[in-house]
Each structure stands twice: as structure tokens, then as C-alpha cells.
């Protein structure tokens, strides 16, 4: 059984990516860095889908379709998130999460 022919490997990899992303979301203060981490998490999800698709799913195309949708959603999400970040920056002169929360009050 080859390393790259096992579902487990991919799932584990996705998990690692997800955890790294999660750490980023929790630890970073800059909104953009958080967005980057979120992208990592989304990619972990994509890998999962593709792996299931490759090893389990009855129709291989479906997993790819879903991955493509994830990409679209990621793009839309990034667009909106970035706009919000930029808007926040323009209002607050900072994109640091802590500052943003402080300023809300």
C-alpha cells in the first residue's frame, strides 16, 4: 500500500492543514492574516473532498465539482472579507482585531 494511495494520508494531511489554519485564526491579530488562515482551512476541506472523491465516491466528477464550488465560495468570501477589512481599516486606521473590537464600543 503506497503512501499516496491511502485515504488516511490525505485525511491526515487535511487535518494538519486545518489545524495550522485554526491556529492562525486564533493566534494572529491582523485580519488579513486571519483571512489567510481561513483560506488554509478551506483548502483542507477541498483536499478532504477530493480524497473522498478519489477513494470512495461513486462518481469521481462530483467531488471535483464540489471542490470547484469551494473555490468559488472561497473567492467570493475573500472578496467580501477583504472589502470589509479594507473598509474597517479605513474607518479604524488599523486592521488589528483587538483594536477593531475595542473601537466597536
Amino acid at each position: 500500500m503506497l503512501l499516496f494511495n491511502q485515504l488516511q494520508t490525505y485525511l491526515f494531511l487535511a487535518l494538519v492543514l486545518f489545524v495550522i489554519g485554526l491556529y492562525g485564526v486564533l493566534a494572529r491579530r491582523s485580519l488579513i492574516a486571519i483571512l489567510i488562515s481561513v483560506e488554509l482551512i478551506l483548502n483542507a476541506a477541498s483536499i478532504n473532498f477530493m480524497a473522498f472523491n478519489r477513494f470512495l465516491a461513486p462518481h469521481p466528477a462530483v467531488g471535483q465539482v464540489i471542490t470547484l464550488f469551494i473555490m468559488a465560495v472561497a473567492a467570493a468570501e475573500a472578496a467580501i472579507a477583504l472589502s470589509i477589512i479594507v473598509a474597517v481599516y479605513r474607518k479604524m486606521r488599523s486592521i488589528n482585531v483587538e483594536h477593531a473590537t475595542e473601537l466597536r464600543g
Binding site: 503506497l2 473567492a75 472589502s83
Partner: protein
């Protein structure tokens, strides 16, 4: 399906990427070895038309670039969906494919229309502090 078919393509890609990297790296190393060095107070200073720079270059660029990047994002994603559809186009549908593509593109074009109406394409400087 021991080894996925796509992998044989992957080999080519990998080898070429590595080769390109080495190809680019080689002359750089040679240059490091055979080039003389110069000294001077301003040698390592940032070039700005012969004057010392004022402020950092990591500047904040105009909003406009960002908006264009966003527009690009939208259209790039639509390309992503159109590519597979194009391959399937005309393979056993009556009019359905055409209509779907038209609707898809139609909706997307609204992005341009909207941006156009909002004046994204006219580069006027907006006063930041009105």
C-alpha cells in the same frame, strides 16, 4: 490504479520546474563568483533618481487597484466554471447549454455594468477628506 495517470504528467511538470529553477540559479551563482565588487556609501541605498529616499516604499496604493483585483477575482472564477462547460457544450443538449451559458455570462456581465455605473472605470481622484 496503482499510480494515478495524472502523475505521469506530473513528472514532466516537476522536472521542468526544477530544471527552470536550476537554470535560473546557475548564472546567479556564476555571477556571484566572477563579478567584481564595488564599494561606496550609497551603493546599497535605494535608488530614487539620485536623491535619498523620503519615507518607505511600502506605500499604500490606491483603492482602484484593489477594486480591479476584485473584479478580476470574479471573472477568473467564472472562467473556472466555463471551462468544463465548454467541453461539454454541444454534446447532446438541444438549447439548454446555450441558454445556461448565456444566463451565466449575462449575470456576470452585470458586474461590469454595475462597476461601470458606479464609476469604477473612471479614474477620478476622490477626495479623502472632503
Amino acid at each position: 490504479m496503482e499510480i494515478p495517470q495524472a502523475l505521469s504528467d506530473f513528472w514532466f511538470v516537476l522536472v521542468f520546474l526544477v530544471a527552470a529553477g536550476l537554470f535560473a540559479l546557475g548564472p546567479l551563482i556564476i555571477a556571484k563568483l566572477i563579478a567584481p565588487r564595488s564599494f561606496g556609501a550609497a551603493r546599497d541605498a535605494t535608488y530614487e533618481c539620485g536623491m535619498p529616499t523620503i519615507g518607505s516604499a511600502w506605500i499604500q496604493v490606491g483603492m482602484i487597484y484593489y477594486l480591479f483585483a476584485l473584479l478580476f477575482l470574479a471573472f477568473d472564477v467564472d472562467v473556472l466554471f466555463l471551462f468544463p462547460v465548454l467541453l461539454a457544450y454541444g454534446k447532446g443538449y438541444v438549447w439548454r447549454d446555450f441558454i445556461e451559458i448565456t444566463i451565466f455570462i449575462g449575470i456576470l456581465s452585470l458586474v461590469i455594468v454595475y462597476a461601470w455605473c458606479r464609476g469604477v472605470f473612471s479614474w477620478k481622484r476622490k477626495q479623502v477628506n472632503p
